[in-house]
Symmetry: C2
Subunit: 281 residues, 2 copies
């Protein structure tokens, strides 16, 4: 899966150069971000099944950033890719329902219904408990999609809270139980998945035990230090059991190889796909 974490200060030069004169810095930067993501999708998309736009990276440009996000999502869908909106939202139920509308639903207004982002799935934070996740799950299901719930993230600080002992097991085992409960159990791959950092592969077998049917979203490959080769247990239910995601290592591949950015991104995405396919068998 192609992570889209555009940094406006490090976009591909062609994307910056293509922006017409005129407009505010935010509008011009938003146009450049959309052009960058579009080109990245064209280059690396054929080796991917999904894109994962990181909402923070778009929000920092305000309304023009949100417009760039909408354009990026539309381009990915037109390219036949699934869209997983990575915002890690979580709030009390009434607000969670609003996030559901924003990401996968529609919002009734006096002027007509307003469609949200149209994501196929999105990430969610489970700290607020089951009633806070349910409106997100409902919104995703109503749109035919799913939710990836944070279980054990890829950053070192994950140890501070997610690994705290609750009885004899770490907190993340409780989060895994929540994922299993929410996901239904009619066989195959569930519509509620887990975000599981690829930087701690030693936990993967236990996670697969706790969540036999959940698809795993595995960030942290490449720039964050995770290796595809360590992720075999995630793929136990089959090729659809895990989505390996890489962002910076694809977008900046050209900085390392000296190739043009698009060609390097394509090659790196293909390399990761082949490594993941070998694991999935």
């Amino acid at each position: 899966m192609l992570g889209l974490d555009p940094d406006p200060a490090r976009l591909w030069p062609d994307a910056v150069g293509a922006v017409p004169e005129g407009g505010t810095p935010a509008e011009r930067a938003g146009a450049a971000v959309a052009a960058h993501c579009t080109a990245l999708i064209d280059a690396a998309g054929p080796a991917c099944v999904a894109v994962k736009p990181q909402l923070a990276c778009f929000e920092r440009l305000g309304a023009p950033g949100w417009t760039a996000l909408e354009r990026t999502v539309a381009h990915a869908r037109n390219a036949g890719l699934l869209v997983i909106a990575d915002g890690k939202r979580g709030d009390v139920p009434v607000t969670a329902a609003a996030y559901g509308q924003a990401l996968a639903g529609t919002t009734p207004t006096p002027f007509g219904d307003v469609a949200g982002l149209g994501a196929d799935a999105f990430t969610a934070n489970p700290l607020l408990g089951r009633d806070a996740l349910e409106p997100l799950v409902d919104a995703a299901r109503a749109a035919g999609g799913g939710v990836f719930v944070l279980v054990r993230t890829s950053n070192p600080g994950a140890a501070d809270v997610e690994d705290l002992p609750v009885g004899s097991a770490p907190l993340w085992e409780r989060l895994a139980a929540l994922v299993r409960e929410l996901g239904g159990a009619d066989g195959g791959i569930a519509d509620i998945g887990a975000v599981v950092g690829a930087t701690a592969p030693e936990h993967l077998s236990r996670m697969r035990e706790l969540m036999p049917h959940a698809p795993f979203l595995l960030p942290g490959i490449g720039a964050q230090g995770g290796r595809v080769e360590d992720l075999a247990p995630a793929f136990a239910p089959g090729p659809g059991g895990a989505l390996v995601t890489a962002s910076r290592s694809i977008a900046t591949a050209g900085d390392r190889t000296g190739e043009p950015p698009a060609a390097a991104a394509r090659a790196e995405a293909q390399r990761l796909r082949d490594a993941a396919s070998a694991l999935a068998g």
Copy 2:
């Protein structure tokens, strides 16, 4: 504090009526949301020290919703109110830094720096641990503001994760310790606060013990069932020790009293202010 959780289907009639013809449903709804929030700030703002826009409620209108958010924030600041952006963000460090740029910082782009939302403070989710909170804290401090970290939320589901036993104490005591550590301890009121649901006042004395200097953000008054009168321990450090927040009970006061919405909102905001002032002494 005035919570701004605009539901486009339940805006004040004058705000809907003031929207000119033309534009997409999202653009027209965004204009109506901005007009509603502006009128609510004019009516209830004089009895408040801050507004708390709920980001989800704006995001569901896409880019026009973000424009409405920017207009609302500008209006509140012009009215002399602090702005606390309620998005409960939390992500790995590199992404947390992007949220910091979006909410309180600026983003360098090839076209010039782009200012973020300009919030004085914002809410954050601590599930990902200390290294994920630090970039948010840094961004808020650089802007002279602060962060409110979720410790124990106001929804019933809070019991599912936040109340889990870690050793002999609930998980939220660990989150409280994180708030105290991040907030520095040079006396007075710290710049890192805690979100503490007003629906569980039995925990407030213990929270004040664990976080003697942290300002408390207390949502859940009114529509969610919390009562101002139960919150005395939160105000122990003085009148600035706690921010009581009400949203729907102010915006919809007119539905209950039959008064025009603005007059009813003003009266309800004054009533809550007087009740909080009596506690703060």
